[in-house]
Amino acid sequence: MIGARLFMFLSPLGERLGEGVRRPLTLPLPLAGERSLRRMLCLLVLLFALPALAVEPAEVLQDRALETRAREIGRSLRCVVCQNQSIDDSSAEVARDMRRAVRERLTAGDSDGDIFAFMVARYGDYVLLKPPFRAGTLVLWLGAPLLLLVAGGALLVAARRSRAQPVAAPKPLDEEERRRLDALLKD
């Protein structure tokens, strides 16, 4: 049972907690020794492992170059039933069909552009995770930079104006004020 052994922790005091006893991430202490440290590192690696892609082994093409291209295309195609997942990330039925279609088209000799066109013809621009630049998406592409420009411009104008009108030097204290200040300072 490798799994159970991995979870054999040492408490911060160094005593063994026994197999299967889980502690919420105990840090390895010098007492724990090198072997435990290695176990801990293994565990950390497992904890921070990246989520696996939904691409199933049976789908993977024999040709490495084609498979690399398929992955690149798959990353920029949206699964149509999962709002914001690429078809490579989704295990939905439709996503699997789309992955298979991408590989079939690639094997048939289509270019990347052909494959994107193939998908857009069926699902529209929605299928592209990166929307195309055209009249309908102008606000999407230019809205944020435009807003940044406007805000930056306003800031610049405001800064210029405040520099042009320096704050007037305060009037010197009059007799009455000086007497009050002296009284306050004396206290």
Partner: protein, 179 residues
């Protein structure tokens, strides 16, 4: 200038309120993924028949000069169960030509399902691997396409059709009122 700055927050609020009011009342569905099928010729249809002994489905079945309804369904799909009575009504009472396509559904599952609920389909095909579904821009089941006599897709419903769809769109379409 100064007065404009005071009005700016109010203006922003009014703009947002306007957008929200429009979103709530216009019937806009932000989750809708839209469809590019409507207005285009029906995609390729070349499928084996679902019912043993029937001839296979071909493009010619969608170009008969009369409106055709194409419905993708599956026995494992609950919304399909919900919309099924509407298709029964369309087929039996309205005499609509309905083509049913079992999507990712084994024949042994789809046929008993239809036997139990009633079979409203004039023609029925089997798309076991979902390839035809992909060509039709299908995102899942159920989805329904209204195709006119010349083979042009006029409407594409994603999800189950409702009584309202039936009364407001499908029945007028069958009578030739929807273009």
């Amino acid at each position: 200038m100064r007065r404009l700055l005071f009005v700016l927050p109010l203006l922003t609020l009014a703009l947002m309120a306007g957008f929200f009011a429009w979103s709530l009342t216009s019937g806009r569905d932000p989750a809708s993924i839209g469809s590019v099928a409507a207005g285009r010729p029906a995609p390729k249809l070349d499928l084996p028949a679902l019912r043993p002994g029937d001839p296979p489905l071909t493009d010619a079945d969608l170009r008969t000069g009369k409106p055709v309804i194409v419905n993708f369904f599956a026995s494992w799909c609950t919304p399909c169960l919900a919309e099924h009575p509407l298709f029964t009504r369309l087929g039996e009472r309205e005499g609509a030509a309905i083509v049913g396509i079992a999507w990712k559904n084994k024949r042994d599952d789809a046929l008993p399902w239809l036997k139990k609920l009633g079979d409203p389909y004039k023609l029925a095909g089997l798309d076991l691997d979902g390839k035809t579904g992909l060509d039709w821009g299908l995102s899942g089941v159920p989805e329904t396409y209204l195709i006119d006599g010349s083979g042009i897709v006029r409407r594409h419903f994603r999800g189950p059709i409702t009584e309202r769809d039936l009364n407001e769109t499908i029945l007028p379409f069958l009578k030739g009122a929807v273009k």
